[in-house]
């Protein structure tokens, strides 16, 4: 557990990038979620920092790690809202579970197959 001062800069940067991304998505009418734009900008910045020392934003890592540590908790409010769909789910439980199993296994096999086909696994 880092100190508040150690975590604050990175957490603030992620908040700023998410807000800027939201603003940009609305402003330009982009169909992509704002947070995804923020992620892309942060990623480019991190990758640039690995090659050009002057653009390093290693200071942001503790705060980003703190957000990721609690990412699961941020999903909880959405999951608790699931009760609104209880009737739809109960009515289609068996086909739904079958669909999930089949498509999940098939997706894994297709991904592994594509990776081999493209010469990734040697």
């Amino acid at each position: 557990m880092g100190s508040l001062a150690g975590n604050l800069p990175g957490a603030a940067l992620c908040c700023a990038l998410a807000t800027a991304g939201d603003w940009l998505a609305v402003r330009l009418g982009l169909p992509v979620p704002g947070a995804v734009i923020g992620l892309a900008v942060y990623l480019l910045w991190l990758l640039a920092g690995q090659h050009v020392a002057s653009s390093s934003i290693a200071w942001s890592r503790p705060g980003a790690a703190l957000l990721l540590r609690w990412l699961g908790a941020l999903i909880v409010p959405a999951l608790v809202g699931l009760s609104a769909y209880a009737a739809i789910l109960a009515g289609a439980l068996l086909p739904l579970v079958l669909l999930l199993i089949l498509t999940t296994v098939a997706t894994a096999l297709v991904t592994a197959g594509l990776y081999r086909l493209l010469g990734g696994a040697r």
Binding site: P31, V36, L39, L43, L71, L74, I75, L82, L99
Partner: protein, 226 residues
């Protein structure tokens, strides 16, 4: 204000407890901390006769923080960038193709089975890790809670089926294993894989975030077909 503080504190405490429980039992997929914490909160609301809508309204700070936390996922790609060296086209091709296949088969099969429109839309993001699923559904005005739940369930199913299957098929290469798991079974699969093979777990985490990115770009184009 006080309501929000109580709702957020309750979720954080529930999640911390659920994580400790998962640690104690060696991270079995069915004890996914997100799942257990959600059940604890839902149970608490029912016991105290608090309407779910009231809780959802009060929990807005956590909902808002999901955006910044998603931005922080960039560190997962940057931290594993060395793994991409010399195999970037193969990784992007496999993850991009796997993501498109995962979205396409789920939507096609949902149509074939005649599932309700809400379910069809939610299933379009089943192969995407839940933070991405939620953020994508919010921007497309789809069923957020349903999408989050099906994403988590997919992860649990994937951890229980995909990982043993890859072993049985004799797929040993940690990166192949990781990519297949990350694209199909995202976070729950990644955690299960990482506990056995750190390198495969890292590849899985990388694939999971890339899948979210691909889906965020692909889905707005394919949304009408759901």
């Amino acid at each position: 204000m006080i309501e929000s503080a109580i709702a957020c504190a309750a979720v954080l405490v529930a999640f911390a407890l659920a994580r400790r429980l998962s640690d104690r039992f060696g991270h079995p997929p069915l004890l996914s901390p997100v799942l257990v914490a959600s059940l604890m909160v839902a149970g608490g609301l029912a016991l105290l006769h608090v309407p779910v809508a009231q809780f959802e309204a009060a929990a807005w700070p956590l909902r808002w923080l999901l955006g910044p936390a998603l931005v922080a996922l960039a560190t997962v790609i940057a931290g594993n960038a060395a793994m991409l060296k010399g195999r970037l086209p193969a990784v992007l091709g496999a993850v991009g193709g796997g993501t498109a296949f995962g979205i396409g088969t789920a939507v096609a099969m949902a149509r074939m089975l005649g599932l309700a429109p809400d379910l069809r839309q939610a299933l379009a993001v089943k192969t995407v890790t839940s933070p991405f699923a939620i953020v994508i559904m919010r921007s497309l005005a789809g069923p957020v809670a349903l999408a989050a739940a099906l994403a988590v369930l997919t992860g649990v199913i994937g951890a229980l089926t995909v990982i043993p299957l890859l072993g049985r098929l004799g797929i040993e290469d940690p990166i192949t294993k990781g990519l297949a798991t990350g694209v199909s079974s995202h976070i729950v699969g990644t955690e299960a894989l990482a506990s056995r093979d750190a390198r495969a777990g890292a590849a899985s985490a990388l694939a999971m975030v890339l899948t979210g990115l691909f889906a965020a770009l692909l889905l707005p184009l394919a949304w009408a077909a759901t």
